[in-house]
């Protein structure tokens, strides 16, 4: 692995909104086709990292390289699977229309859909198990089906890197299964997947690397290296509970609003 060129490199990146920096001095390198789980408490900056990776947020400092080139040099190679709440599901488009949007970048905006485009869309629909819904209006879908529409669209983009924001939370079992199947399939095709999740179990069992975030990079490595109490305590602070048999629990059911900042400060003091 170390001999292959890195597909995604983040070097000393600081990211935030306006003058407010959310993530400070992040550096990591993701090799070809790796599956990376991004974990951390609420407000750790997971979504912020994703927004920077797709070029939605400018960097305060540092840089992000894809195939050794800065963001923006590769038009179509990053696909982003947003959280479902980010779009208006009453918009008058069908499932197939949405998946076809994934092809616009590839084929230019003014050409007709080629048979290759059609085939890629049908393949993506079938793979996500929503071929039967293709002509349905998106307003008729369940939450899990909406999630699978986004996954199918990312697939139709034929990307080199897929970013998914919390694809396992708040959806039904079928949609979770679809997301996990997609993860394995992407891995087989050498596609890099960076996925944020609250599910530490999934993170340690289904991913090659875990990226632990809390306003900064707490740790990055294989699940075996990362899933240790010291790292997790460093990321989650007091909301981490370790049971006698070694089971680790993260208590995030009702995080008080102010505690986020306190946790982050506690982490800094430990440094």
């Amino acid at each position: 692995m170390p001999h292959l060129p890195h597909r995604l490199e983040v070097e000393n990146a600081s990211i935030g909104y306006g003058a407010k920096i959310v993530l400070r001095d992040i550096s990591f390198q993701v090799p070809n086709g790796a599956r990376v789980a991004v974990v951390g408490p609420n407000g750790a900056g997971k979504s912020t990292l994703f927004k920077a990776l797709v070029g939605l947020l400018p960097l305060h400092s540092g840089r992000i390289l894809i195939h050794g080139l800065p963001l923006g040099h590769h038009q179509d190679c990053v696909a982003y699977v947003p959280q479902r709440e980010e779009v208006d599901w009453r918009f008058p488009v069908t499932v197939r229309d949405v998946v076809m949007m994934g092809r616009y970048g590839n084929r230019g905006w003014f050409r007709r859909a080629s048979s290759a485009d059609q085939a890629a869309v049908e393949r993506a629909l079938a793979q996500m198990g929503i071929g039967g819904l293709a002509s349905q209006s998106i307003s008729d879908l369940s939450g899990g089906q909406q999630q699978r529409v986004f996954l199918a669209r990312a697939l139709a983009q034929e990307p080199h890197i897929v970013l998914m924001d919390e694809p396992f939370s708040g959806v039904d079992v079928a949609a979770q299964g679809a997301a996990l199947d997609l993860l394995d399939d992407l891995h087989e095709h050498g596609v890099t997947a960076v996925i944020s999740t609250h599910d530490l179990n999934v993170a340690s069992s289904r991913f090659d690397y875990v990226l632990l975030l809390n306003r900064r990079l707490v740790a990055f490595g294989t699940p075996g290296e990362i899933m240790r109490q010291q790292h997790l305590t460093s990321a989650y602070g007091d909301s981490l509970v370790v049971l006698e048999n070694g089971t680790v629990l993260v208590d995030e059911c009702c995080p008080p609003g102010k505690e986020q900042g306190d946790v982050a400060q506690a982490v800094h003091r430990h440094d």
């Binding site: 939605l56 990053v78 947003p82 994934g102 970048g105 307003s139």
Partner: protein, 282 residues
């Protein structure tokens, strides 16, 4: 039959009919984006904001449509500029520009004593006063707007539905938004003569809203919306002719009536249908 043909024997009615149909279609197509993107307030504001442009053109003895056009584009771009990067919320920016332009317009107009009649026409339209030159202007600008919409159909679709996808596909979202604002401004201006400043936003919103109840895809929604817009123009003008009421009001009330009928009786999700379903549980 004679009832329908008789009004058309007047040349001014022929021109009015043509103008009403063209404006109906144009507003309905552009209005689809206005409705989907939740820009109803913007459309209304823009219509009022052309007032100072009209006033200045009138005071200087220039072309009123040209004055309105310049004012509309200035205001559209000013709103885009104020709300870009979220410095000020868009509806706040619109509120500021809307009120400022309207005040300026009224202030300028109030300096002229004999302006009352023309002001009524500007506010509520005078479709029967449409000249052949106006028809050409509506036709040419309208054609340009429709061609732009056709050309930018996919970018507008993506940027309206999923701005994040638009960004990952490197679409120039800011530019597209400004193009759309200018298209709305142009539509408002060429519609002024027909329905007036006060009523143009109704033509932008009511036909697309009606179409959205009947179809679930963007392109059919545009076509249906255009058909409803054109129909409202024709029916409204006949009503205006026979009932002797202001043409703009007649057109807008016709569009509203169609909306209400669809809202109540639409087989897909009509109000009555839903109520009947609730009354008889499965």
């Amino acid at each position: 039959m004679n009832l329908l043909l008789e009004p058309l024997s007047y040349a001014f009615m022929q021109r009015g009919m043509l103008a009403a149909v063209m404006v109906g279609i144009l507003c309905a197509v552009i209005g689809t984006y206005v409705v989907l993107r939740g820009m109803a307030f913007f459309g209304d504001a823009l219509a009022h904001a052309v007032l100072p442009g009209i006033a200045v053109a009138y005071l200087l003895g220039g072309d009123i449509l040209l004055g309105a056009l310049v004012a509309a584009i200035c205001v559209a771009l000013a709103i885009g500029f104020l709300s870009r990067q979220g410095a000020v919320k868009e509806d706040t920016a619109i509120g500021i520009m809307f009120a400022a332009a309207l005040s300026l317009g009224v202030a300028l107009i109030s300096t002229v004593k004999t302006y009352a009649v023309d002001l009524t026409h500007i506010l509520f339209g005078n479709v029967l006063g449409v000249s052949t030159f106006d028809l050409w202007l509506i036709g040419i600008i309208g054609l340009g707007i429709l061609l732009t919409v056709a050309l930018l159909y996919r970018p507008f679709l993506v940027v309206s539905f999923d701005p994040v996808l638009a960004a990952t596909l490197r679409l120039p979202a800011e530019l597209l938004r400004n193009v759309l604002l200018v298209l709305i401004a142009l539509t408002v201006v060429v519609s002024l003569q027909t329905v007036g400043v006060g009523l143009v936003s109704a033509l932008l919103i009511t036909p697309p809203a009606t179409a959205s109840l009947l179809t679930r895809r963007l392109f059919p929604m545009m076509l249906l919306s255009a058909a409803i817009g054109a129909l409202s123009g024709i029916v409204g003008l006949y009503i205006s002719f026979y009932a002797n009421i202001v043409s703009g009001s007649a057109i807008v009330l016709t569009a509203t009536m169609i909306f209400l009928l669809v809202f109540l009786f639409n087989p897909r999700q009509g109000f009555l249908r839903r109520h009947a379903a609730e009354a008889t549980p499965a």
